[in-house]
């Protein structure tokens, strides 16, 4: 018995499934015009605009504007991908039954999650390359802690991804789209991502505890002072745990 459809079932090895899922999701994210705008175009505009603007209005910054803003914009890029892009993509995956479909494939849920994280890191890598190139072109002179950058990206991605999934799992796709963009805009303006929390005066003590402030401050510590920011990393880890626990309790696959 050896027809065309003679059964020969089996799951692919986990690492191959995760790789396939990550590259698929990254490709879809980069193919989508709005997502690309969010991932690359807006951070680059913010970077150029902030550097130009800082020369005209007198901001109290500890270093040169480009050295201050480049880490902030890298933090913004992490936030846009791990939170906004992920929430929107996942919201529509639930709507279109993609998650349900994959739920009956050999890909386990942990594999799906690992694939999503892999896709986020791939997109963030691309964002990092583009933004770094633009920043260096504007005269950026960083003092790098490689470990600091890696820990910040991982902790920031974990915190924002868990919050993005929480949002996508709780709301309808359109509501997720609106909320994810709104939260992104609010945090970009007032969340101490691009501007350091010290620039917010007394309010700085509040925004430091937001995931956006912690991500921005931690990224600045790693690229402005070449140092780790234990407090910022701890705040991000805290948000990641809270987000993951709430997501695990509330997320439904449809």
């Amino acid at each position: 018995m050896s027809g065309t459809f003679t059964p020969r079932p089996g799951a692919a090895p986990l690492h191959r499934m995760v790789l396939a899922q990550a590259s698929m999701e990254a490709r879809l994210m980069l193919r989508n015009g709005e997502q690309l705008l969010l991932a690359i175009v807006i951070p680059v505009i913010v970077l150029v605009g902030a550097v130009q603007g800082a020369d005209r209005i007198d901001l109290e910054l500890s270093g040169r504007p480009i050295d201050e803003f480049a880490p902030g914009v890298l933090a913004l890029a992490v936030m846009s991908t791990a939170f906004t892009s992920l929430a929107i993509a996942t919201g529509f995956e639930r709507r279109y039954g993609v998650i349900k479909r994959l739920g009956s494939s050999p890909l386990p849920r942990t594999g799906l999650l690992l694939g999503k994280i892999g896709a986020l890191l791939l997109v963030e890598l691309l964002q990092g390359v583009v933004i770094t190139a633009v920043a260096l072109g504007l005269g950026w002179d960083p003092d790098v802690s490689v470990l600091g950058v890696l820990l910040t990206v991982v902790a920031g991605t974990a915190a924002f991804a868990s919050l993005g999934l929480l949002l996508a799992g709780a709301l309808r796709a359109e509501a997720t789209l609106a909320a994810a963009n709104l939260v992104y805009l609010l945090l970009m303006a007032g969340g101490a991502v691009v501007l350091p929390s010290t620039a917010y005066g007394a309010f700085g003590d509040v925004v430091r505890w937001l995931p956006s402030g912690a991500l921005g401050d931690s990224m600045r510590a790693a690229l402005l002072d070449g140092a780790l920011d234990p407090m910022g990393l701890a705040v991000l880890a805290g948000w990641a745990v809270v987000g993951a626990v709430l997501t695990a309790r509330t997320f439904t696959w449809e």
Binding site: A11, A12, R101, S105
Partner: protein, 319 residues
Amino acid sequence: MTSYTWPVSDTAPAVVVDGLVMRYGDKVAVDELSLTVGRGSITAVLGPNGAGKTTTLETCEGYRRPQRGTVQVLGLDPVKDRRDLLPRIGVMLQGGGAWSGVRAMEMLRHVAKLHAHPLDVEMLSDRLGLADCGRTPYRRLSGGQQQRVGLAMALVGRPEVVFVDEPTAGMDPQLRRTTWELLEELRGDGVSVVLTTHYMDEAERLADHIHIIDRGRLIASGSPLELTRGGSTATIRLVVTRPFPPGSPESLRAALGEAIVVTQLDDVSLLVTGPADASTLAKVSRWCDENQVLPESLTLGVRNLEDVFLQLTGRELAT
């Protein structure tokens, strides 16, 4: 590398549902349902919309946990043993299941990569007539094309059992025939096919075994022949121009005698089932005359699955 070893002693039925009860709030979707699906056959779960077909299927696919009763697929528990079971089954959802921006072939290749020994995706897309739209984004595919991508995703992993939910809904007659032939080829190659449908002709033409479900309950089971035979049984369908006067089924039954079953289908149509002969037809005609009802049509035919279904649900409605 994961390699699959075929359990030689594996003789478990494809599906065993035993006393399944599923509720959504107050509404009972599946009510004490029990059925068995043998290996290497095509089994149709037939019923109207809302009968509980999809809920039953989704319980077999591990999406829903039985609230009461048990479900086993290939001898495994779809929830507890899902990691062992999922690679061995193929699932075609009633709709959706792909990213809106993904190209048809890209989606199929992706699902293929999740399996150890997938089918050749080019061959599969040719067989399903998807070659022309391989680069088209999923959201731009027609309903029928999306259905076929869904079927391809269910088959690409070379499963032992495939669950297909309304596989030909929205397909034109030619595509339906092609899909039926494909499902028959699957059976020929040893794949067990479980399909839900509300098309009587699909079940009658395709299935080795039919389970008729209505309002969550199994009301009949058997091969198409077993379900439709009954010796010289035939049906007379009477459709009238104005609603029947009250008590018509009873009065007609009294006029026709013991061996006849009269089922009221709606305000203006009755189904008469029993020994088929000209005298019955003549008696029905005379009854119309005596009761001043004007027949719009009076047709005599061999009992088909549709009659079986209407008769069964009609009888249940009366109780």
